[in-house]
Subunit: 446 residues, 2 copies
C-alpha cells in the first residue's frame, strides 16, 4: 500500500489503510459514532451513555478536596509546606501517591487486603487495562479470553496491542466458568496460549449480568487448574439493586491469580481520571530476582503517562480521606439513586410491555441485580440505522449491542443505561422507546 | 517458556521471561535504576533528573487556576454553573477541553497557526508519543528513525509497541539532515519502510544540541522528498541561553509533514500531566472520506486514557488564561533562571577544568545554547557502577549517557542536568564532580 504522494509544496495526506488496523476497526469506531449521534440529537432522551449521575457534586468541591488532601499531608503526616508543594507540582512516584489511601479503602469496602505497593494508580481504569495487557501479553499466541458481550474498553485496548482474543459466551448469570474452561481448551487446541480472562463479575457492562458466588469460586478453581490469570474489572460493584453485595474475585483469591481493576469514575468523579489496578503477583526474573507485578507495571507506565496527574490524585485522595476511606458508605445516596432508577426502568418496561404483549411482539429484557445497564431483545435489527431512526423520529437513544460482540452477535439487542437520567426522564424515555419498538416490530411483521 | 506452576493453593508467581520483552529491556530499567539511586543517596547533589524548577509555584495556585478557568467559562463564554460543573465532573471530549487555549498559545508563542481541532490534549507528552506511534506504525517493516542519543520516552514507547527503530547519529548541532537521509536509505535497503523521524530540535534531551535554521529547512526538504513524517518534540524551546529562539519545525512546515508534540511539564507544572500533539494532517479513507489525523488519534486515546483529566486541564487552562495565552512571557523568570544555571554550570566546569587540564585528563563537554542539559566526555566508563561510586564517595549524581543510545555508544559520557539546582548547589556539585572525575581519570591512568 503506498501513501498518497502529493505534488511538492502541497499538504500531504495520509491513507487510512496505512495507519494501524485498529483505526479501521468497528470497535473503535463504535464509540465515536455513539458520541456523534448523541451530539447530533441533543434533545433526544438518551439511554446510551454509561456516565454517572453528577449527584450532589459542586465545582467548589474540587478546591475543598484539594485542601483536605494537603491538610492531611501537613497535619496528619507532618509534612512541610515545601514538601506538599513538591508533591503536587513535581513529577512523582510512577505508581502513584494515593496508593496507601486506595489500599485502605479496598480493605474497608471490599475486604481486599493488599500491601499499598501492590496498587498502581492509573489515569483511569483504561490505563490500568493497557498496562496489564501490555505486561502479560508477549507473544502472538498469547490469547485474551473475554466474556462476550464485552466492554469495548477491554477489546479496544487489546486491539491497540495486536493481542489475540477469544470470546467466551456469557450466560444469564454473566461469565460462565464452564464456558471459560471450554474457551481455554479450544484456545490450546488452536495453538494459542490462554493467558488471561477479562470479566466484569458484577452488573457487567453491557449485559448487566452478575456471577453467583458459586460461579466465582468455580472460576477461581478453573483458573488455578488451567494456569489462567483473571482480569477483574469492578466499576459497578457498589450499585446493588436487590440482594447483598457479593465478594469480588480478588477478595476470594488465595493464589494471586486475580488482577483487580478499579475506577473512581462511577464512585467519585470521572473527570479526575483516576483508576487503579491491584497487581500483587510475584514476578521471578531469570536470575531468581523477585519483584511485584506492580513494579513491572511501573516500567510500562513510565512509557504511557509517566505519572497519574498529582492534581487529580490529590482531589480523589481528599475525597477518600473525607469519607474515612469508606467509599461505599459515601456512595449511599448514589447507590439509592441508581437502585431507584433501575427499578423505575424495569417498572416502566413492564408497564408498556406486559407479558402477553411482550410475547406477541417478541420483546424481552433481563432484570439485573444492580448496576447501570440492562439489555432488551427486539424483533428487528438494532443497528446504527435503527438508532438514527429512533433518535430522529422518536427522540430516544440507546446503544446497539452488536458493538460489544467479537465476531458477531447481539444484532437484535439493545443496551439501556439509566445512570444519568432522572426518574421522569426514564418514564418519558421508555414511553418513546416503546413507541419506537412497537413501530419497528410492526414493520418487521410482528 | 513455561511459567512457574505452583502447588495448589500456593500463590502463583510469574516468570519475567513470559512477560512483554520491553520489561527486560535496559531502556525501561534505566529510568527505574536512576530513580532508585537518587532515592538511596538523598544527600547527594544531583545533576541527574530533568525535572523543572518549582520557581514561584505555591500549592494555593492550583485552586486559583481552577477558579480562573471556571470564571472564564462563566463570564467570558457565558456558561451556566451547571454546564461548568459537568465540564469538570464528567467524561468529556476525548481530544480535550483546552485545545482552543493551546492553539491560541501556540500561535502567540511559536507562530504555529492551526485549527484547535488539530490539537489533541494528552496525559503529558508521553501519551501524545504513544498515540502518534500507535496510529502511524501498522506493519512490522514500518520503521521509526530516532536521533541518537535519544530521549528514552520515545524509544521506550516504541518498544512497548514492538516498533522497529533505526538510530541516526546526531552531529554537534543535533540531528543531522544528511544522516537522516542516509538512515532513510539504509532502512529501505534493509526492507524497512521509514515512516517517521523522532527529534528534539531545540536543546535536546540528552545532548543539549540544537539544529541550525538551515538544518531545519533541509530536514523538511528531505522529509518531503522521502515521504517521511517528523515527530517534533519541543519541551525546552523557551529556555534559550544564548542567541534568539529559532522557529520550530512545525512553524516552518508547509506540507503538514510535522507532528508537533508539546508539554506543559517544563513551562507550567509536571504534576498536572498535560501535554498535546498538533496533528493537522489529513487522512483519507478507502471510500475517499476525509478526516484529521487528530480525529484518528482520538479513537486511540479512547483506548488509552479515555480523557485527559478535566481537573488537570482546568488548572493548565487557568494558567494559560492568566498568561493571556502567552506562556513564553509568563516563563520569563524561568527562562532567566535556567539561563543563569547553565551559565554557572559551564563556568564552574571551566574553572575546574581549564583547557590544559581538560586535554591532559581527556575531559570535554559541549556548550548548549539553552535547555537543561549538557554532556561531558570522560576518560573512563560512565556506567551504573561508576554512578554508584560517585554517589557514595563523592556525593554527586549524574546520568550515564549510554542509556540513551540504541545499540551501543556513549559509554564514556555523562549527562548533567542543571534545571532543579540552585547556583550554589551547582557550584558545590561541580566541585564534587571534578573530584570524582579526577580520581577516576587517575585510576584509568590519565
Amino acid at each position: 500500500m503506498s501513501e498518497t504522494t502529493p505534488a511538492a509544496g502541497r499538504p500531504r495526506a495520509l491513507d487510512l489503510t496505512g495507519l494501524h488496523p485498529s483505526l479501521a476497526d468497528p470497535v473503535l469506531d463504535a464509540m465515536n459514532f455513539l458520541n456523534e449521534v448523541v451530539a447530533r440529537f441533543p434533545d433526544a432522551l438518551s439511554f446510551a451513555p454509561g456516565r454517572p449521575s453528577e449527584g450532589s457534586f459542586a465545582t467548589e468541591d474540587l478546591a475543598r478536596y484539594l485542601r483536605i488532601y494537603t491538610e492531611h499531608l501537613e497535619r496528619e503526616l507532618g509534612w512541610s509546606a515545601d514538601r506538599v508543594r513538591t508533591q503536587l507540582f513535581q513529577y512523582g512516584r510512577t505508581n502513584g501517591i494515593i496508593h496507601d489511601l486506595i489500599a485502605r479503602t479496598l480493605a474497608n469496602d471490599e475486604g481486599i487486603h493488599v500491601a499499598p505497593e501492590s496498587v498502581v494508580v492509573t489515569t483511569g481504569c483504561q490505563e490500568a487495562m493497557l498496562l496489564v495487557l501490555r505486561a502479560l501479553f508477549a507473544r502472538p499466541e498469547d490469547t485474551l479470553l473475554v466474556s462476550s458481550p464485552c466492554y469495548i474498553g477491554a477489546t479496544g485496548a487489546a486491539r491497540l496491542l495486536d493481542i489475540a482474543m477469544r470470546p467466551v459466551p456469557e450466560g444469564p448469570d454473566g461469565p460462565d466458568p464452564e464456558a471459560v474452561l471450554e474457551g481455554v481448551r479450544r484456545t490450546r487446541a488452536a495453538g494459542g496460549r490462554p493467558r488471561a480472562l477479562y470479566i466484569v463479575p458484577d452488573f457487567a457492562n453491557p449485559s448487566g449480568a452478575s456471577m453467583t458466588l458459586a460461579a466465582r469460586e468455580r472460576l477461581l478453581e478453573i483458573a488455578a487448574q488451567e494456569d489462567l490469570l483473571i482480569l477483574e474489572d469492578n466499576p459497578y460493584g457498589f450499585f446493588v439493586r436487590v440482594g447483598t453485595p457479593r465478594p469480588t474475585l480478588k477478595a476470594l483469591d488465595r493464589e494471586r491469580r486475580v488482577l483487580h481493576l478499579g475506577s473512581f469514575a462511577k464512585t467519585a468523579l470521572p473527570g479526575a481520571r483516576v483508576g487503579y489496578v491491584v497487581a500483587d503477583q510475584e514476578v521471578i526474573g531469570p536470575a531468581g530476582e523477585r519483584s511485584l507485578l506492580a513494579d513491572q507495571l511501573s516500567k510500562i507506565k513510565s512509557m504511557t503517562t509517566v505519572n497519574t496527574s498529582a492534581v487529580s490524585q490529590a482531589v480523589v485522595g481528599g475525597l477518600l480521606i473525607d469519607s474515612g476511606c469508606r467509599l461505599r458508605e459515601a456512595n449511599a445516596a448514589a447507590i439509592a439513586f441508581y437502585r431507584a432508577n433501575l427499578n423505575t426502568l424495569l417498572a416502566e418496561l413492564d408497564r408498556h410491555f406486559p407479558a402477553e404483549r411482550r410475547d406477541a411482539l417478541g420483546v424481552d429484557w433481563n432484570r439485573p441485580d444492580g448496576g447501570f445497564f440492562l439489555v432488551v431483545d427486539v424483533p428487528f435489527l438494532a443497528d446504527a440505522k435503527a438508532l438514527e431512526h429512533s433518535a430522529r423520529n422518536f427522540g430516544v437513544l440507546w446503544t446497539p449491542m452488536s458493538d460489544f460482540y467479537l465476531g458477531g452477535g447481539g444484532e437484535s439487542r439493545l443496551r439501556l443505561s439509566c445512570s444519568s437520567l432522572t426518574p421522569d426522564q426514564i418514564t418519558e424515555g421508555v414511553s418513546r422507546l416503546a413507541a419506537f419498538i412497537t413501530a419497528q416490530a410492526a414493520e418487521a411483521g410482528r
